[in-house]
């Protein structure tokens, strides 16, 4: 259907405000993101930079109000999700885009068994496609989905309640549920963060295997750079509501250009030792009254006059490598 040149998902200039007592939070300030079929994207940034808000907007699950979309488009295969009818939206959420949440315990309903919850997902997706499934058939589909995520004894699991499973098993169930409708895009929001290191490693390896074998497109939201490096092939770095840099994953780690990306990578503690870099001075801005121009300028070590007045556009300066920073605009030479 879609060839490689048309994006599967494209976010254009997405801007979102939240109404709060005494003002408005200008949270998303023109987010631009493009995803091609088969791409595995990492969306990286610190707490409160708008990663999850962006993805919630994509699934149209942002609470509105207080949220308000000022401008922008979210195109899924060329159709604007923000303008879709509810019945079309259901199809997108079913087979188009699925999401795995950070905390598997909160994502599962404690009073229904795993089987009931998985069957509900499978049944409602079938209904959206005007198919009817027997109980037996949806049970079998749920069983296969659990086997796909390498869970032992799936029959017993389907009859269990979430509280009877460990954290790692719950996350596997969530993955199985998200994949049971065969989505084209999988959004994973910090899939291993609430788990222990060795269990997180198992989950990430499982995700990588599933994604590779099904050639699925993935958006991984995380603030752990190591996870991004192991799972994705393209990175979008987000700061205070905008994308500040994007490149192939290898390139981001070997040659980060934006001062924020450089600072972020430098502060990761290394297994090789050598101490920890001093971090990025200052803190994430107050969204009620964000800095003018480039939102990073109060924390930037290379700040110039123009940075305080104008917002730098995301410009491609190398093949597949774009950065929103005046340090790299036309007349400046790229220094490394």
């Amino acid at each position: 259907m879609s060839d490689v040149t048309t994006p599967l998902l494209e976010i254009r200039d997405l801007s979102v405000n939240f109404a709060v007592y005494g003002g408005e939070l200008r949270v998303l300030d023109g987010v631009n993101l493009r995803m091609f079929p088969g791409e595995r994207i990492g969306l990286v940034g610190e707490t409160g930079c708008g990663k999850t808000t962006t993805m919630k907007a994509v699934l149209r699950v942002l609470p509105m109000p207080p949220g308000r979309i000022l401008r922008g488009e979210i195109l899924f295969k060329g159709r604007d999700i923000l303008k879709m009818r509810d019945s079309d939206l259901r199809l997108v959420r079913g087979q188009g885009i699925s999401m795995i949440f950070q905390d598997p315990t909160a994502a599962l309903n404690p009073v229904f068994t795993i089987g009931e919850q998985m069957q509900a997902v499978i049944q409602s997706n079938a209904q959206d496609n005007n198919l009817s499934l027997t109980r037996q058939r949806s049970w079998e589909l749920a069983l296969t989905a659990l086997k796909d995520v390498a869970l032992a004894d799936p029959e017993r699991l389907l009859k269990s309640y979430p509280i009877q499973l460990s954290g790692g098993m719950r996350q596997r169930v969530c993955i199985a549920m998200a994949l049971s409708t065969n989505p084209e895009i999988l959004i994973a929001d910090e899939p291993g963060t609430s788990l222990d290191v060795t269990i997180q490693d198992q989950i990430l390896r499982l995700l990588r295997d599933l994604v590779e074998s099904r050639n699925m497109s993935v958006i991984l939201i995380t603030h752990t750079l190591g996870v991004v490096r192991e799972l994705t092939n393209r990175v979008y770095v987000m700061y205070a509501g905008s994308i500040v840099e994007t490149a192939k994953t290898k390139k981001i780690f070997s040659q980060p250009l934006h001062p924020y990306t450089q600072g972020l990578i430098a502060t990761v503690p290394r297994l090789t030792g050598g101490g920890i870099a001093s971090g990025i001075p200052g803190r994430i801005p107050d969204y009620r009254n964000p800095p003018t121009g480039c939102r990073f300028h109060p924390r930037c070590p290379h700040v110039m006059e123009i940075c305080k007045r104008e917002k730098p556009p995301l410009t491609e300066i190398d093949q597949d490598h774009s950065v929103a920073c005046f340090l790299y605009s036309s007349n400046q030479k790229v220094e490394q």
Partner: protein, 327 residues
């Protein structure tokens, strides 16, 4: 080497969490949160205590600081036995302080920073001018004096944790227990907080017992590392030695599970041990070596006999049947 400032020997802490069996034959269900842990902390050093959730690392911290009474074992601090049931003398209470994991819940939301920092001063340093001390404490952690009139909700996560550190330093302690002080923070804020902690350590000659699950962080702050699994230490070594030559299969599994950001780090990770299996419940710890259910090198007697520590020289000890004593 010099005398240890803190010496923990065969520390055990069991919790009773319920009962099984019929009337008359009731048996308590106990969780062996800490089951025979021994280590020393020397003056001015940082001992890293690493483990996953349920390994008992926080229980060790709370027992040392005096929030729990040990079930068995000895805790000696500056040559005084403190692991007893008697109330700890005030001088020793103030010499051991703790910084908690979640700065959001460890500061009273109804008190301003001044009140929060005054509390330990009221109890332990009655001789000092409190206002001057509060200003001094804010200064050593790099906050302006005006910050004392703020409430915790007005501060960012990093600043809250810095207040937690200032509060711990208020009593002029010699040992500070850091219970995952940065795990709730972003990396750039973590970097700032860790660097502050390292500076303060030099300035006041503090000893740290640093509890974390992050081995890459440990590599950069600890002088020695101890790895815990289900209530027991399975390996303890000097940091450099530990990362060059991890011996215990669990340690190797942990190291190989860490997501890293550079190729040099990748080369350091052991490749032969891939994470598998679930962490058993601490209520039902496997017999023998508690790691045998997940160990790739498991031998028949691992499920029967719990291994003893083997000294591999240079302060590097490992508790595993792969390294028999005297072998």
């Amino acid at each position: 080497m010099s005398q240890p400032i803190l010496s923990v020997q065969h520390l055990k802490k069991y919790f009773v969490v319920g009962q099984t069996g019929m009337l008359g034959k009731r048996q308590p269900i106990t969780v062996k949160a800490v089951d025979g842990v021994s280590f020393d902390v020397f003056s001015g050093e940082t001992l890293g205590l690493v483990g996953e959730s349920g390994s008992g690392k926080s229980t060790v911290a709370y027992t040392v600081v005096g929030m729990y009474k040990p079930t068995a074992g000895k805790i000696r601090f500056m040559n005084t036995e403190i692991g007893t049931n008697d109330k700890r003398p005030k001088e020793l209470q103030k010499a051991i302080q703790i910084v908690f994991q979640d700065p959001g819940s460890s500061l009273n939301p109804r008190q301003n920073i001044k009140q929060i920092l005054e509390m330990p001063l009221r109890v332990h340093r009655k001789d000092r001018n409190r206002l001057e001390m509060v200003i001094y404490l804010l200064e050593i952690v790099g906050l302006p004096p005006e910050a004392m009139y703020k409430y915790p909700r007005m501060l960012s996560g990093g600043e809250k944790q810095i207040i937690g550190i200032a509060r711990a330093l208020a009593t002029n302690p010699s040992l500070v227990i850091l219970d995952e002080p940065t795990s709730a923070l972003d990396v750039s804020v973590q970097a700032k907080t860790i660097n502050l902690l390292l500076e303060l350590q030099k300035q006041f000659n503090l000893s740290y017992l640093f509890i974390t699950h992050d081995l890459s962080l440990m590599r950069n702050v600890a002088s020695r590392v101890a790895i815990m699994y289900l209530g027991k230490i399975c390996e303890i070594a000097n940091t450099a030695d530990f990362f060059r030559n991890p011996l215990h299969p669990y340690t190797q599994m942990l190291l190989s599970s860490i997501p890293v950001v550079s190729e040099e780090e990748e080369a350091l990770r052991p490749t032969k041990v891939i994470s598998r299996g679930e962490i058993p419940s601490p209520v039902n710890i496997p017999k023998g070596c508690s790691f045998h259910t997940r160990c790739p090198f498991v031998m028949p007697h691992c499920s029967e006999v719990d291994p003893e520590f083997t000294d591999m020289g240079n302060g590097h000890s490992v508790r595993c049947h792969l390294y028999p004593q005297g072998g």
